[in-house]
C-alpha cells in the first residue's frame, strides 16, 4: 500500500447546512443508552446512515454543523458509529467544544468544495488536512494546541486521568 493510500480511512458521508443535535441524537431516544440513540442518528435526513456508516468514515457537513442542544450524545453517537472526523465550513460553538471533549476531531474548512458521497477520504489532525481521493489535500483551519493535546489523549476524561496520574492535577479525593 502506498503512503498516499494510507491517508484514507473510509468513505465520505455528505450532508447539508444546519445539521442539528436533534437530527444527530433525536430527543425521543435520549432516555436510552448510546447504542440505541446511535441507531437513530440522522434518520430524519438519511435513514441509511446509521446502519451503513463504517469505522473510519468521515462526515462532511454544511454551515453551522451541530446547532442546537448541549446534548453531547450528538457527538457520542458519531464516535460510537466509528466516524473518524467531521469536516464542515463552520460548527456550532457548543458542539465544537463537545466534539473535542469526547475525542471526535472536527475540522473547519470555510471554503469546503463539493465532496462526492462515498469518496475515499481521510484526515490528519496535526496538519489539519483532509484527504479526498483524486484531489489535492484540503487545508482546514488550525486546531487550538490545547485541543489537539486533549484529542491525542482521547478526549477530556482520559486527558484529566492522565494529568491526575502525572500529579499535574489534584483531585479532592485520593485516587484509588
Amino acid at each position: 500500500m502506498s503512503a498516499q493510500a494510507n491517508r484514507f480511512t473510509g468513505r465520505a458521508w455528505v450532508f447539508g447546512d444546519d445539521i442539528n443535535t436533534d437530527l444527530l441524537a433525536p430527543g425521543a431516544y435520549m432516555k436510552f443508552g448510546i447504542d440505541e440513540i446511535a441507531r437513530h442518528c440522522m434518520e430524519a435526513v438519511d435513514a441509511s446512515f446509521a446502519a451503513n456508516v463504517r469505522p473510519g468514515d468521515v462526515v462532511f457537513g454544511g454551515r453551522n454543523f451541530g446547532a442546537g442542544s448541549s446534548r453531547e450524545q450528538a457527538v457520542e453517537v458519531l464516535r460510537h458509529l466509528g466516524v473518524a472526523a467531521v469536516v464542515a465550513p463552520s460548527f456550532a460553538g457548543l458542539f465544537y467544544r463537545n466534539g473535542f471533549n469526547l475525542g471526535l476531531p472536527l475540522l473547519t474548512c470555510p471554503a469546503l468544495p463539493a465532496v462526492a458521497p462515498g469518496a475515499e477520504v481521510g484526515c490528519d489532525i496535526d496538519t489539519a488536512q483532509v484527504f479526498i481521493a483524486g484531489g489535492a489535500p484540503l487545508q482546514c483551519e488550525p486546531i487550538f494546541p490545547h485541543l489537539v493535546a486533549m484529542i491525542r489523549d482521547g478526549g477530556l476524561v482520559p486527558h484529566l486521568a492522565r494529568k491526575i496520574a502525572a500529579g499535574q492535577l489534584t483531585v479532592n479525593e485520593e485516587v484509588q
Binding site: K31, A44, S70, G93, L94, L160, A161, L169, E173, V175
Partner: protein, 424 residues
C-alpha cells in the same frame, strides 16, 4: 488602555486578570455550575467515579430536575432517581426537584448576580446573561471537567452589540425581537462570540423579558447574550432575596470606547409580531403573512415562553375569550413559583377560564423527551425557542414559533393570528 466590553470585564474577573483581549484563551474560575437531570448526574457520576474525583466545591453546584419530570415510565424514573441520589452523595444542597425549568429556577432562587461566571449543562444556559453574568451552556463531559477542576477555558469573544431604539408597540415582545434577529443574522449569526443587547427598548424590558433575549441567544449562535445590569436588575434580585451588597451594577457595563465586532441598530417601534415557519427559528416573517394557517395546538411552555411575564402576556389576550373549537391551548408554566404567582394574581384563572389545559412545570414538549409530543401532521404554534424537524413531535408535525401574545391570539382564532387585533 482601550475600553473593555462587558464580556471582557466579566472574563477578566473570572480569569483573575485586569483585562483580556478578544481571541486569547483564558482559564476561568467557575462561580456556579448548574446541571439538570438529563445532562447532569446521570452523565457526570460515572465519569467522576472513573477518575476517582469529587466535586471541587459542592456549594457552587445547583441541580434541577426538569427534563424527565414528572417521570412517566421506568427509564425516566431511573434518570431522575440518579439525580436525587447523587446530590446526597456529592453534598449538593442546592437541589430543586420538580420546581420548574433550571434557567428560570436558578435566578428565582437568587443564585445569580451581576459579575458572576457560570456554566450550565444546557444550551439555554445563556439565559443567565440577562443578569449581567457570563453564563453559557456546556456538554456533560465539559461539566465533568468543571466539577473536577473548578475551571474552564474560554476564548475571549468579540462583542456584537444589538441596539434597539425606541419602544416596542403593544402586543410585541422580546420573543419577536429574537425571531427577527435570528432571521436577519441566521442561527450562526452570533459566531459563538458575545452578543450584548442594549438601547432604550431593552432598558424598558422587565427582567423576564430580558431573560427571553438572553435565552434565545442560543438560537442566534453566540456563546453569551448579555444585558448590562441596571435598577431593573437590582430590584428583581432584591425581590428574589439576594443581599443588597451582592448586587453590583456599576462595574458591569461596557466602556463607551470598547471595540465591537459589529453594532446593529433596530427600531423597536417598527417591529410587528413575528412568526417563524417550520423548521427553524431563523425563518420569521410579520404575523400578517400567516393568516390562513389553521392550527391544532397552541403551546405556551418552556424557559423561553412560559415565565410569569409570558403567562401575563397570554392572559392579556385571552381575558374574557375562549379558545377556538377544535384547537387545544396547552400551558406549562416555567416554574412552580411563577405558577403560584400567576394563580395568586388571577392570571392563571384567565388562562384556564379561556380553556387552557395546564401541564407540569417542566421542559415538556419543548425538549421532546417525554410523553407530551405532538402527533403526526399536527400543526402547532409555540412560544418555545426551537422548531427543528421532529424535535417536539412527529417528523411530520409542523411547528411555528411566536410570542406568548401571538400564540394566545392564535388559540382564540384557531389559526395564526395577530395579537394586536385582539388587544386593539
Amino acid at each position: 488602555m482601550m475600553g473593555q466590553t462587558l464580556a471582557q470585564k466579566l472574563l477578566a474577573r473570572a480569569a483573575g486578570r485586569t483585562s483580556v483581549v478578544p481571541g486569547e484563551i483564558v482559564t476561568c474560575r467557575v462561580d456556579l455550575a448548574m446541571m439538570h437531570d438529563s445532562g447532569g448526574p446521570r452523565r457526570v457520576k460515572p465519569m467522576l467515579e472513573k477518575l476517582g474525583a469529587k466535586v471541587w466545591d459542592p456549594a457552587r453546584v445547583v441541580v434541577v430536575t426538569d427534563h424527565y419530570v414528572p417521570a412517566h415510565d421506568a427509564d425516566s424514573r431511573r434518570i431522575v432517581q440518579i439525580a436525587r441520589d447523587w446530590v446526597n452523595e456529592a453534598g449538593v444542597t442546592r437541589f430543586h426537584d420538580m420546581e420548574g425549568i433550571c434557567h428560570v429556577v436558578v435566578p428565582q432562587k437568587g443564585y445569580l448576580q451581576p459579575g458572576m461566571f457560570a456554566v450550565g449543562g444546557d444550551s439555554h444556559s445563556c439565559t443567565g446573561g440577562a443578569f449581567g453574568a457570563y453564563m453559557f451552556g456546556v456538554g456533560a463531559t465539559e461539566m465533568l471537567g468543571v466539577l473536577v477542576t473548578g475551571e474552564i477555558w474560554v476564548r475571549v469573544p468579540q462583542t456584537i452589540r444589538m441596539q434597539w431604539h425606541g419602544r416596542l408597540g403593544a402586543g410585541v415582545s422580546a420573543k419577536d425581537m429574537m425571531l427577527r434577529m435570528c432571521t436577519q443574522f441566521g442561527m450562526d449569526g452570533g459566531q459563538y462570540q458575545a452578543v450584548e443587547y442594549a438601547g432604550e427598548a431593552v432598558a424598558a424590558l422587565p427582567m423576564q423579558e430580558r431573560m427571553t433575549l438572553s435565552n434565545m441567544t442560543a438560537e442566534l449562535g453566540a456563546q453569551v447574550g448579555l444585558v448590562a445590569p441596571d435598577a431593573t436588575t437590582r430590584d428583581w434580585l432584591l425581590a428574589a432575596g439576594v443581599a443588597p451588597e451582592r448586587i453590583d451594577i456599576e462595574p458591569w457595563q461596557s466602556d463607551a470606547d470598547a471595540a465591537c465586532l459589529a453594532v446593529h441598530d433596530f427600531d423597536a417601534s417598527a417591529l410587528a409580531p413575528q412568526v417563524s415557519r417550520p423548521h427553524t427559528p431563523a425563518d420569521a416573517d410579520d404575523v400578517d403573512v400567516f393568516g390562513q394557517v389553521g392550527i391544532d395546538v397552541a403551546y405556551i411552555g418552556a424557559c423561553t415562553g412560559a415565565k410569569l411575564d409570558d403567562l401575563r402576556m397570554a392572559a392579556e389576550v385571552l381575558r374574557g375569550r375562549r379558545v377556538a373549537r377544535g384547537t387545544r391551548l396547552l400551558v406549562a408554566p416555567a416554574s412552580a413559583a411563577d405558577q403560584q404567582r400567576a394563580a395568586q394574581e388571577g392570571t392563571l384563572a384567565v388562562l384556564t377560564d379561556a380553556g387552557a389545559e395546564l401541564l407540569p412545570n417542566a421542559c415538556g414538549a419543548c425538549a421532546g423527551y417525554g410523553e407530551h409530543r405532538f402527533g403526526e401532521d399536527s400543526v402547532v404554534i409555540s412560544a418555545t425557542a426551537r422548531n427543528f424537524k421532529g424535535r417536539m413531535g412527529a417528523a411530520s408535525s409542523q411547528v411555528y414559533l411566536g410570542s406568548p401574545y401571538t400564540v394566545a391570539a392564535s388559540a382564540i382564532a384557531g389559526r395564526i393570528a395577530d395579537p394586536r387585533e385582539v388587544l386593539a
